[in-house]
């Protein structure tokens, strides 16, 4: 308690103002609508815990799809596993630098092998002794470079969805930029799925572009606050969604995260054993019928620059 009081005393007036504004606006803006943003298997465990608020404005190659410029000064390899509605998704990301050019590659995949094939005769169903194939695969590559003090990134993504004997393929483009107006603040902007795809008919391959912007503000060496606005017509067509998150290091190794993903709560925890890091993110389900969302990420950083905590 004393530690918290000391930190509040040492905090600048601007930081205190940001916290007060954040506390006031969360119930007014974030929890005011009924629509819930939907599951996205590309979100890392850290960003799930922060309510999708940190994907635009942090240096973290795990956010390469949300903002490809985030891979600059962030190298490593990571594995992600998440489960939603009893469907497992796994992904691997590799990020490195080639001279002054940063690049990252991600593979994400999912499959179900126990969907029973069946035929109907009137209202009678007969199951057949084989299963219906279902697979989803995605391969993405992104490049980023700092030009005139601004981080620019761009990438391309190939997705394929196998539904029994039908295969749907799409190619998406995504771009992003990040600039750093002060030592404490980072602002990011990105567009995913730049070319609209009118013939797409499933929830995993997006039809409309996704516009996102976000800001991260370092309140202290231990605390960072995040705010993001996402306009995703694939999920909510009428307005953008607001995402809040705060990360607090309770020790050098242990960050805890709280977030509001538009209108649902998220919680996360990390274990930072440099260069290894484990992140777990949990997002509340808004209904009793479907499960909560859980994502686990294992990262190995090639350098120590990823970490928000710096002593």
């Amino acid at each position: 308690m004393e530690l918290v009081q000391n930190r509040l005393k040492n905090m600048s007036l601007l930081n205190k103002l940001i916290i007060i504004l954040g506390i006031i606006t969360v119930p007014l803006v974030a929890l005011s609508t009924e629509e819930t943003p939907l599951f996205d298997p590309y979100i890392s465990g850290k960003n799930v815990g922060l309510g999708k608020s940190a994907g635009l404005s942090t240096t973290d190659y795990n956010n390469m799809i949300q903002n490809p410029s985030s891979i600059i000064n962030s190298t490593g390899i990571s594995l992600h596993a998440n489960q939603y509605m009893d469907i497992d998704y796994s992904s691997i990301i590799f990020s490195n630098e080639l001279n002054t050019l940063s690049f990252a590659v991600q593979y994400l995949g999912s499959s179900i092998s126990d969907i029973n094939r069946s035929v109907a005769n009137g209202t009678y169903i007969t199951e057949i002794e084989n299963s219906v194939p279902y697979e989803f695969h995605s391969l993405s590559i992104a490049f980023a470079k700092n030009i005139f003090g601004i981080d620019f990134g761009a990438g391309i993504q190939y997705q394929t969805l196998i539904l029994d004997d039908i295969t749907e393929e799409t190619v998406n483009e995504f771009i992003g930029l990040t600039f750093i107006p002060s030592k404490e603040a980072r602002i990011g902007f990105s567009i995913q799925n730049i070319t609209p795809k009118n013939d797409i008919e499933n929830a995993l391959q997006k039809e409309h572009p996704i516009y996102s912007t976000g800001v991260s503000y370092k309140l202290s060496n231990f605390t960072t606050a995040h705010l993001a606005f996402i306009y995703n017509e694939n999920e909510i067509s009428t307005h953008s969604t607001v995402h809040y998150g705060i990360e607090q290091y309770i020790s050098k190794y242990l960050p805890i995260r709280l977030g509001i993903d538009h209108n649902r709560y998220t919680v996360g925890v990390g274990l930072n054993l440099d260069p290894f890091e484990i992140d777990i993110g949990w997002a509340e389900s808004r209904t009793d019928i479907i499960d909560d969302q859980l994502t686990i990420s294992f990262s190995y950083a090639f350098t120590e620059k990823n970490h928000l905590y710096k002593p």
Partner: protein
């Protein structure tokens, strides 16, 4: 005289037997509740042709029950919901239940993808939740 005594003891034995059976039925339902068993649940056809198919449900229930159906996309969007009261013939009666949950005109408005169907069945004393995958192509 001896025959009368034999008849009397047989009658007592039958009474005791009936009492034991009734007591065990009562004890069984008191301790374990009324059994609610769902068997042979099938959802299909799988895969379902968007142009011509309708979604059919088949199962056998041990008692009459109420039912709730929820159809979600894999990203968590609820696109269809239906509830049935208890003891509707062919839908929520005890025994075989076979019916069309979603007709083809509604199926035609759905996207071609994987869906998750959640089924909640409740007979008043116990409930079952079942999940099935459905591919519409």
């Amino acid at each position: 005289m001896c025959k009368t005594i034999d008849n009397f003891s047989e009658l007592t034995m039958i009474k005791q037997l009936i009492a034991t059976v009734l007591f065990s039925i009562y004890l069984n339902s008191f301790v374990f509740g009324t059994d609610f068993v769902i068997e042979s649940i099938r959802v299909g056809p799988n895969s379902l042709l968007k142009s011509s198919g309708s979604l059919i449900i088949n199962y056998v229930a041990s008692t009459s029950h109420s039912a709730n159906y929820y159809l979600y996309t894999v990203t968590g969007e609820l696109i269809f919901q239906e509830s049935y009261d208890s003891n509707l013939p062919g839908i929520t009666n005890a025994g075989e239940c076979q019916f069309e949950l979603i007709n083809n005109s509604l199926i035609q408005s759905f996207q071609k993808q994987l869906y998750v169907l959640y089924i909640e069945l409740d007979n008043g004393t116990s409930s079952e939740q079942i999940k099935k995958y459905v591919i519409i192509k």
